[in-house]
Symmetry: C2
Subunit: 296 residues, 2 copies
């Protein structure tokens, strides 16, 4: 077993997601909080420009910018392109067998009612072992396996061989919520505890199967011929996450009050419902299936 | 009695407050919805630049830009300065005895749990007569008399002799919520009904007294020496609006988990709690007193 040498906790990747911004500030003030006996913990703000203006990004979404080919393309020079190259140097490089960090935990929040979630886009056994550990130690946690909205996974955490995003909500952009701030901090502590036990070979026996939500597809808002949104998320779905949707259930309501229903046969779970940052990406929600998967 | 000739409904003053943005879009599609027999209704998006980028503003807060002296100052030339001068020409001019519109209803939303509120900063008897009417026809409505955060009231609605803002929440910036969209529309319809009855002299007898929340002061977040926020709104206040606060009640919790209490003797009501756009203005919440005022 290869031991974990370095873990990075990153926040402020989206500058208006204040849970991560303030948690990293707290670690700067009290670095002992993330120190462990047998590995190094790095922590950093990844997008100071977006944080300063309290927007998701300056020029483009940093959390979709880690495409291997683009990282090597010197002509890519927006603010986030430069950040991505710097981060890739510091924490990666992406795809390397000898990266600077072994694991990245990237901190996010969402306007959607995702509760306390981790978003996994990685098949690494270590990632899924940690997911199994957290499923025991944080029963409220939802585990969502994300297929992605890009050809190559291009999240911040993709530049290390292992990692995931923590996603908590509902939190408006630009708002710090005390309850979810402390819940996120507790989750980060449990993640660091896992690595310490892992390196010490003192991990308890973990479940061999865990329940996850598995990405099926992203669903856009109904739009008119000009591409403008013409219906809102239906109140039955608003303020819910991981909610079961069956044929005939309302999905949207248009501005005149007409309901638009789910018409497919298969039952699904809806999540990432009405996330502000996804309006421009063209996603009103994500459909997933609930399934039990083997993790060892 | 001077009859109402023209009413303006304005939305998108803050480009990321989508309730107003989409309600005005609906009126463009169905202008008959706001037509009445005995006055003209104008409706418009006031800040297309901010709407396009889904931000509160491009250069500065349009809803603090209608300062009489500034409107006459040709050297003021930011995006919102120009918009303000144009709107003032079209709907005002501010302070005129013969303005283009008699009444402005400006549509807003907030990340704070303000429910369905109107924010009044105007002593006009007509405004308070309408408030009395709405207190009967919309029992859920909160009426908040705002003292302002600027020396001169410089809201969009201040360029007409009469007007107020509708403020609904909680809604994250950049999000359309169906329930509050339709509630706002219903409130706008009731406002237009009032003007029609007013002009026809068919208004029923209205209450002579109404209950309002009266602005006492704005309260900032606890900050460190650098001016950085060092505590979040306490969970007891988060997700509440118009909540009574007494000596000894928690107000904030700092990032280390220490609670900061309300230490003044007077009972107050807290509102506009944790509004995203007020972080940069330096307001974590507003304190108000509940009082009954005479309106005729």
């Amino acid at each position: 077993m290869r031991k974990i040498k370095t873990v990075a906790i990153t926040g402020g990747t989206h500058g208006n997601e204040l849970t991560g911004v303030y948690l990293i500030k707290k670690f700067f003030k009290n670095p002992d909080l993330v120190k462990r006996s047998n590995f190094e913990t790095l922590f950093m703000h990844t997008n100071l420009g977006a944080m300063k203006q309290c927007t998701r990004y300056v020029d483009k979404d940093l959390n979709r910018t880690f495409v291997t080919q683009d990282l090597a393309d010197p002509s890519r020079c927006t603010y986030e392109d430069i950040l991505a190259k710097n981060l890739n140097e510091k924490l990666g490089p992406k795809g390397s067998k000898n990266p600077h960090v072994d694991f990245i935990v990237d901190l996010h929040s969402t306007t959607s009612d995702m509760g306390l979630s981790i978003i996994i886009d990685n098949d690494s056994p270590l990632v899924w072992k940690l997911a199994a550990y957290l499923s025991v130690h944080e029963p409220k946690l939802h585990i969502f396996r994300w297929k992605g909205d890009t050809a190559e996974v291009s999240f911040v955490n993709s530049i290390a061989p292992n990692g995931f995003a923590i996603e908590v909500g509902p939190i408006p952009q630009g708002v710090l919520r005390a309850d979810l701030f402390f819940e996120t901090e507790t989750l980060v502590q449990k993640i660091l505890d896992f690595f310490e036990k892992y390196n010490n070979n003192t991990l308890e026996t973990l479940p061999k199967e865990i329940e996850i939500y598995n990405h099926i597809k992203l669903v856009d808002f109904p739009r008119d011929k000009k591409g403008e949104i013409k219906a809102a998320v239906h109140p039955n779905l608003q303020d819910h996450g991981y909610i079961k949707v069956q044929k005939g259930d309302p999905l949207f309501i248009d501005l005149e009050g007409r309901v638009i229903y789910y018409e497919e046969e298969a039952d699904v779970y809806a999540l990432f419902i009405n996330e502000a940052a996804y309006y421009e990406k063209g996603f009103a929600m994500c459909f997933a299936e609930k399934k039990t998967i083997k993790v060892s």
